[in-house]
Symmetry: D2
C-alpha cells in the first residue's frame, strides 16, 4: 500500500474530523493508499503548531500556500471558512492536487462555479458527510432499486437548536449569509434531497431571521428557511432548515412516500432506517425499524455485529475512504464539485424565491451521480 | 339530571361514533343532561331501522325533516355527507335546536357562511374531534401559558394512506373536492393549527392529484396538498395533508418550536405528548415523553391511572360532553360554526394559491375561541 | 335484541368502568343482548344513589344481597374489594346468574377454589381486561398460528409507580397481601403469560416490600416481585411486577422470542404491536411497528380507520361484549373462573418460593382457554 | 508527546478494533502518549502479514512471545481467544508491560485469579468497552450523584440473535463454556450491573442450551441465561443474556428504578439516555430522551455538536485513551483485572446456581472502581 501525503487547511471542528479520519481510514478500510498526516495549515504559527501536535501531523504552517506548494503534500482537504475555499482549491488544482473541500463549496454561487471550472480534469469532492451513513446509503439503494416504487412525496429537514435561545450572543455564525441557515445547514439536506430523489426543478421559499438582534450585535443572516420544491421526477416536496428548532440537536431527517412503500430516517438515531412496504397482509404491515449492520453499505469495516452502530466520526472516515479511492482510480467521486454546485443552485433559487415571493426555477445542468 | 332527546342524521362511520358517544357520555362525565337516543335518520327505511337497532335508538326514519321536526328531538347531530350539512342545519336552527355538525362544515365556503348566519343565537358546534384528545388539549394549555415561549415554527400534517395504492379503486371519496384531501383531511389539521397557534394570515399552497385515474374511473379531487403559512403572531409554518402517505395510518401530527421550548405530537401514539424545555443543565435536557393521565384535561373521567390511555371513541365522548354543556348553559362551545368557517377560509385560500401560484391572504374576521 | 338487566356491585374505579361499558357496548358491537343498567349496590345508601345518578342506573341499594335477589337483575358484575368477591359470586350462582368478577378472583386461593366450585354450570368470567386489547389479542393469534415459531423466551412486566414515592402515605392499598403487588398487579401479567405462552410449571420468586413504613403507618404487603418461570412448553421466562417502578405508568409489557420471530408490546403504547420475522434478506429485517386497525381483533367496531386507536375503556367494552355473548350462548368465556384460579396458583407458588428460597411447582390442572 | 510502541496479539474482530483505536486515539484525544502500531501477532505468518498491511503495523509475527519480548513494544493489547489470555498476560507482566486484555479475562475463574495475581504492580485493564459510551458513563455519573435516589430495581440484558436460527451451523462459538452466552455475553452486562449499582451479593440463575444440536455438530455451551440478583446495596435485580433473542442485534440494555427517578438505556440507540425524575408537576413528568453531546463524558472530542453521535468504534478509542492515561500516570484504570475477576465471580456463581437450583453467594472481595 502506497503512502500519500495529506495536507489539511483548517484546524477547527472539521479540520480535526478530517485529521482523525485520515489517521484511521487505512486501518478501517482496505484502502489502496495509506494517508500520511504531512502538513496542517491554520491562521497562525501558534495554532498550527498546536494542531500539529494534537492531531499528529509532521509539519505545520501558517501559510496555506506553502502547504499547497509542498512537494510532500499529495492531496489536500479544505476545512477553512467558506470564503477561502475558492482560492485554495484553485491553487491546488493548478498544482494538479486532488481536493476534498468542505461544504458548502465557496461563499457564493460564483465561487462554486469558478471552483467547478478549475476542477476540470482533477479529482474533486465536496464534504457532504451525512449522506454517507450506512443508513442513508442504504436508503439510496432502496430507492434506486424501486423498493418503494415511484416517489410521490419527500419531506426533509436539517434542524438544530444552537441559536434557539434568543439570548445566545451574536458571533461569526450570525454574520453573513454563508454562515446562516440557508448558507450552512440547508445545503446538507438539499444535497440529501438530490441524492435520494434526484434533481429539483423549482422552489418556492421563505428565508427568515427570527431574532434580528442578539447580545453583542445585529444578526445579518437567517435563522430558518423552508421551501416547497418540485423534483424533475414530478414528486412534490418540502425542505426545512433551522438553527432555532428548539430541542432538535441533529435533526437531519427525511420521510419519503412512494407508490409501493415509504422510508423514514432521523440522524438523531442514525443507526436505524424505517421502511414500510405495501405488501403482505394488512394486519402485519407497518414501518420496520432496520438497524444498520454488516449487510448495509460501509458498515462491516467498522464492526461485524449489526446494531453496534457507527457515529459521526465514522462518516468522515467513509468519506476519506472514497476520496482515497478516487485519487487512486482517477475516477470522480460523488458528490463532486459539480454536484456541490447543484446544491447551491437550489439554495440560491430559494433565496431568489424568498425575495420575490414567487416560484423560481433551478437553472442548471443538474446531474446527481451515484455513490 | 334531565333527559335530552338526541336525533342523529347519518348512520355510517361518524353516525355510529356519535351514537356510541351519546350512549356513554352521561356515565363517563358528570353531564348536566343525560342523552336519550331518540331518533336516527338515514337514506332509507331499511338502513335507518338497521342502525336504530344496532345503536339502540328508539325510532328511525328515512326522512331527516321529520327527525328535525320531531317534538321529542331536543338536539341534533349531523353526520351526513357534506352536501346535506347546510340544509339540515338551517332547518334545525329554524326550530331553535342545538346542532353539532360534522366537519368540514358544508360542501363549500358558501354553505359554511350560510350556516354561520343561520346559527346566530343558537347552540352550534363543529365536530373537530382530534383537538379534544387529552394530549392536544394539554398542548394547547402549555402554549397558552407560554410554556414554550413565543412560537417560531409550526409544522403539522394529517397523513393517511387509504389511497396510497394506485390500484385502489375510484369511489365517492375520489369524487368532488369536498371529499378530497384539501376538502376532507386538511381541515382537521388546519383546525389544529388555528387552535394551537392562532389565526393564519396567508398561505402559499400546492394541491395535487397524484393518480388521475383509478380502476373504475377518473379522480376529480386531490390526493395531497401542502401549504406554507404565516400566522398572525408572525410565526412561520407548514401544513401537509395526504391520503397517499404510504405507511401513515393516522398521522395527525405537529411539531412546534418556541423560544423557550418545543412540543411534538403524533396521533398514532395519541397518549403521549413530547415536551422540550430550554431550562436546567444542558446535560439533562431533552424531549420528555409525557403519558396522558388524570392530571391532563378530560382524562380522569375515563380512568384514574395515568398511561392507561384513551382512544378514538373517547374523543367523540369528550365532544358530546362539551356539546351537552353548551346546550345546558347556552354558551357557545369551541369550535363553533364560526370557527369552522375560519378553517374553510384557509383551505379555500390554499386552493386559490395552488391555482394562481401566489401567496393568498385569508380574508376573514378570523377568531379562534378557547377550549 | 333482547334487554338484559345488569346489576353492578361496587361503584368505584372498576364499577364505573363496567357501567360505562354496559351503557355503550350494544351500540358498539352487534351484541345479542342489550344491557339495561338496572341496579347498583355500594356500601351506603348515599353513595349508591350518587353512583346511580352518575352512571345512569335505574335503582340503587346499599345491600348487595337485594341486588342479587332482584328479579330484574339478570346478570351481575362484581367490582367490590376482593374480600367480598366470593360471597357475592356464590349468592349469584345460587340464583343461577351469570357473573363477571373483577380480578384477582377472591382474596385468597381458597376463595378462588370455592368460587370455581360454585360456578359449575353457570356463566362465569374474570375481568382480566388487558388481554383484550386488539394488539394483545392479535399477539395471541400470531403465537397460536406459529408466526414466531416455538417460544424460547418470555419476559413480561406489570409496572406502575403509584407507590414509588417513599413519602406516599399508607392506605388500604398498603394493607393486606391481596392489595399488594403480587396480589393485585402480578395477576394481570401472569394471566398474560398464560394466555400467550400457556401453562407455567414452576417458579422461583422474590417478593419484597421496599418501604416498610410510610407516612400514616406500616406497610403489610409487597411493593414489587419477580419470578423466573418455566412454561410447560419448555420455554424459559421472567415476570416482574411493581408499584414502585418510577416513571412507569402502565408498564404492562412483554417480549417474546421464538425460533422464527419475536413480538414486543407495551401497554403504554397500546395501539402498537412490534413483530420481527426471521425471513427475507437480512438487510431489511427489523421489528415492524404494527398499528392496530380494522384488520385486528375487536377493533373495527370502534373505528374503521387503522391507527386511530382504542383506549382503556374500550377494553372493558370488549369484555362486556364477550360476557354478553357468553350469556346468550351459554358457552364459557375465557378467562373463566377456572382460568382465574390458575393465575392465582402461580402467584401463590411465587409466594411459597419467596418464603422458601426454592423453586416451586404449580400444583394444578392448569388449562388456558382460547380467546 | 512521546511515542509508545503498541503490540496487539490477535488480528480478528477485536484485534482490528484496537488497531484502529490506537491509530486514531491520539488525534481524537489529548493523550499524553502517541501510539505507534509497532507489531501484530496472529496464528500464522501469512495472516499476521495480512493484518500488518491492513491495519498499518510496522512488523508482524506468528509468535506472540517474540512480540511480548520485543524491545520496541511498550504496551500490549490481548485480543486472542480466551484460552490464551492468561499465558500472554503473565508473560507481559514478567516484562513489566502494561496490558489491556479483552473480556472476559481468561477462560476460567482460575485463569482470571492467576492473571490478577500476575498483574500486581503493573498497569492492567479489561476491555469492557460498552460501559464507556458517553451515555453509560453519564448514567454512572447520574447514579453516583444520587439523581435517581436509592436504586430499588435493576433490570438488564445483553441480547443478540446471531444463533436465533436453529439452522445456524455449529462453530467454535458453540463449543466450550467460555464461548457460550454465560461465558461471552453475560460478562458485559454483569460488568454494567457492577458499574452502575455496585457489588452483587448473591444470584439465582438458569443457564440453558435451547438448541442442543446444530448443523455440523453438538452444542456444548449455553444459548441464554437469566439470573435474579441481590446487590450489596439491597437492591433487587434481574439480568438476562442471550444469543437467541430473535430480532435483537445489540440489546445491551438496562432499566434502573430509584426512589427519586429512573434511567433507561438500550445500546441499539446508544446515543440516547432516558431519564425520569420524580419532581415538578405530575402533568409534565415523563422520561426525558437525552441525546448525548459535548456535555457528556468523552463526547466532545468526537464532535462539538450534540446528537451527532458516537458509534461502536469510538468506545474502543475511549478505552485506548484511558489505557494510555493509565500507562502514563501509572494509576490503575477501571475496570482493572481485579474488577474483571469480580465479573467472573458472578457468572461462576450463576453457573453454580443453575446446577444446584439454589441461590449462590458471590465469594469475593468485590470492589468496583470509579470511572
Amino acid at each position: 500500500m502506497a503512502d500519500i501525503g495529506i495536507g489539511i487547511v483548517g484546524g477547527g471542528y472539521m479540520g480535526k474530523a478530517h485529521a482523525v479520519a485520515m489517521a484511521a481510514v487505512a486501518s478501517v478500510f482496505d484502502t489502496p493508499l495509506r494517508p500520511r498526516l504531512e502538513m496542517i495549515a491554520t491562521a497562525s504559527e501558534a495554532s498550527a503548531e498546536r494542531y500539529r501536535q494534537a492531531y499528529g501531523f509532521r509539519r505545520a504552517t501558517a501559510d496555506w500556500r506553502s502547504l499547497v506548494a509542498d512537494p510532500r503534500v499529495d492531496a489536500i482537504v479544505i476545512a477553512t471558512p467558506q470564503k477561502l475555499h475558492r482560492e485554495i482549491a484553485e491553487a491546488a488544482f493548478v498544482r494538479g492536487l486532488p481536493v476534498l473541500c468542505e461544504k458548502p463549496m465557496g461563499a457564493s454561487i460564483e465561487d462554486a462555479e469558478a471552483m467547478v471550472a478549475a476542477s476540470e480534469g482533477h479529482v474533486n469532492m465536496v464534504g457532504y458527510n451525512y449522506v454517507r451513513t450506512p443508513a442513508t446509503q442504504f436508503a439510496r439503494a432502496l430507492l434506486a432499486r424501486g423498493e418503494i416504487g415511484d416517489v410521490t412525496w419527500f419531506r426533509a429537514e436539517h434542524t438544530e437548536d444552537f441559536y434557539a435561545d434568543p439570548e445566545a450572543p451574536a458571533s461569526w455564525r450570525t454574520d453573513g449569509m454563508a454562515n446562516g441557515c440557508i448558507g450552512d445547514l440547508a445545503p446538507h439536506i438539499v444535497n440529501a434531497a438530490l441524492a435520494l430523489v434526484g434533481p429539483i426543478e423549482r422552489v418556492m421559499a421563505e428565508v427568515e431571521t427570527v431574532h434580528d438582534t442578539r447580545p453583542g450585535g445585529r444578526v445579518t443572516n437567517d435563522d430558518h428557511c423552508q421551501m416547497m420544491c418540485r423534483f424533475a421526477s414530478g414528486a412534490m416536496g418540502h425542505i426545512y432548515a433551522s438553527r432555532v428548532a428548539t430541542g432538535r440537536k441533529m435533526g437531519y431527517a427525511y420521510e419519503i412516500s412512494g407508490t409501493k412503500g415509504a422510508i423514514r430516517f432521523d440522524q438523531e438515531d442514525q443507526n436505524a432506517l424505517w421502511l414500510y412496504r405495501m405488501a403482505g397482509p394488512a394486519a402485519t404491515r407497518g414501518f420496520t425499524k432496520i438497524l444498520t449492520g454488516p449487510d448495509h453499505p460501509d458498515y462491516r469495516q467498522f464492526c461485524q455485529g449489526p446494531g453496534h452502530g457507527t457515529g459521526y466520526q465514522d462518516q468522515i472516515i467513509i468519506e476519506a475512504k472514497d476520496f482515497l479511492k478516487a485519487i487512486h482510480s482517477g475516477e470522480p467521486v460523488w458528490p463532486t464539485f459539480r454536484d456541490g454546485l447543484e446544491v447551491l443552485r437550489v439554495t440560491e433559487a430559494a433565496l431568489r424565491s424568498a425575495d420575490s415571493g414567487h416560484w423560481q426555477s433551478i437553472s442548471s445542468d443538474q446531474k446527481v451521480g451515484s455513490p
